[in-house]
Symmetry: C2
Subunit: 209 residues, 2 copies
Amino acid sequence: MEKEISQAVIRRMPRYYRYLGELLEEGVERISSSDLSNRMKVTASQIRQDLNNFGGFGQQGYGYNVQFLYDEIGKILGLDKTHNIIVIGAGNLGQAITNYVKFEKFGFIMTALFDVNPKLKGRDVRGIPIYMMDELEDYCAREKVDIAALTLPKEKAEEMARLLVDLGIHAIWNFAHVDLDLRDSQVVVENVHLSDSLMQLSYNIVKNQ
Amino acid sequence: MEKEISQAVIRRMPRYYRYLGELLEEGVERISSSDLSNRMKVTASQIRQDLNNFGGFGQQGYGYNVQFLYDEIGKILGLDKTHNIIVIGAGNLGQAITNYVKFEKFGFIMTALFDVNPKLKGRDVRGIPIYMMDELEDYCAREKVDIAALTLPKEKAEEMARLLVDLGIHAIWNFAHVDLDLRDSQVVVENVHLSDSLMQLSYNIVKNQ
DNA sequence: TAGATTGTTAATCGATTAACAATC
DNA sequence: TAGATTGTTAATCGATTAACAATC
């Protein structure tokens, strides 16, 4: 296997992607690491180092072609493929994520929600059906599912994560406020801990005073 | 001023807080850095280093008192005070955040939502009123507001952020997919970039295959 | 007191920045 | 060709881990 690229680098890639998208919208054709560094408030050195983890996308004396680099970073991030997402837990957060249409622009397609609440049976979120949890297994056998977004209370999250692994799901986008211990599986987990984020903000408020 | 504590350390504090909360629920009275390190899958060294940024909370030969350490970290994170939060943008995400009752356990109180959509006028989210955007200034003059959660489309986020700064708000919890450039102000910004998180997940899926 | 475990200093590791030769 | 700017190596900085003396 090629040498592992650090998550610190990976975390910055979506940000590059976003700035390049903005440059495209502005009609900018090429940009140097130095100009980009001014915009993004990072060092030009870091930009060149980061990009060169994945290959030489620039040209000496010229800089980087914006469209080309945008597309390449898109490929690196897997945005050239579509990813089907199911949402486990059709509460407020689950529905909000489902409604966040922006994701589809990047190839993330919401295909179904699942919940235990019988009141939600047969309902939908902007056309995306809500199923009962006992239909999950059949659904996963029938349809291609790439990512499961987990928006359950933490008490139920661990158990559900196990089930999802058994059903062959490869990636979990975890909104439950708990660490999923799935190290024995091959599943990729990405955590969104909103409480943690809020606490960090709170710390910085206090510090600032 | 005391020496600055790195954000890497701060980011880990909410996780310590969560594990200590779980230990409390289990009725555990004391814990050593080594036992905690086993649970959290970090090094004992890191735990001791992190904590000692803020003071000596442990006792040689004994370890750490769980309740005491929990309370101290709570204070460090500012969770001993309440924070009033207003939500700018009462769309799905704004409403989902408002409904996320869990936050209140940590002293974060949702007090109002604001939107431009006249259909929402006079409505509420579990008793929390939705106001029109033109009432924002009066509201901020009248009520204590600690944090503004920003759930607007990115086109409107920057302008709104400026306005919030002018209205004297000190902290912004930013869900808009844009970097707010508020370096000239004293405002604390914490970003939640859901798209970035999803892209990072996507990268790791591709890598894993 | 002896054993346990912290607080803290020193060593290591990895990530960021600087420098510059290669090259378009 | 000369100027610009990359790709990449070397230097620096900061964060993590290891080690151990202090002490409960």
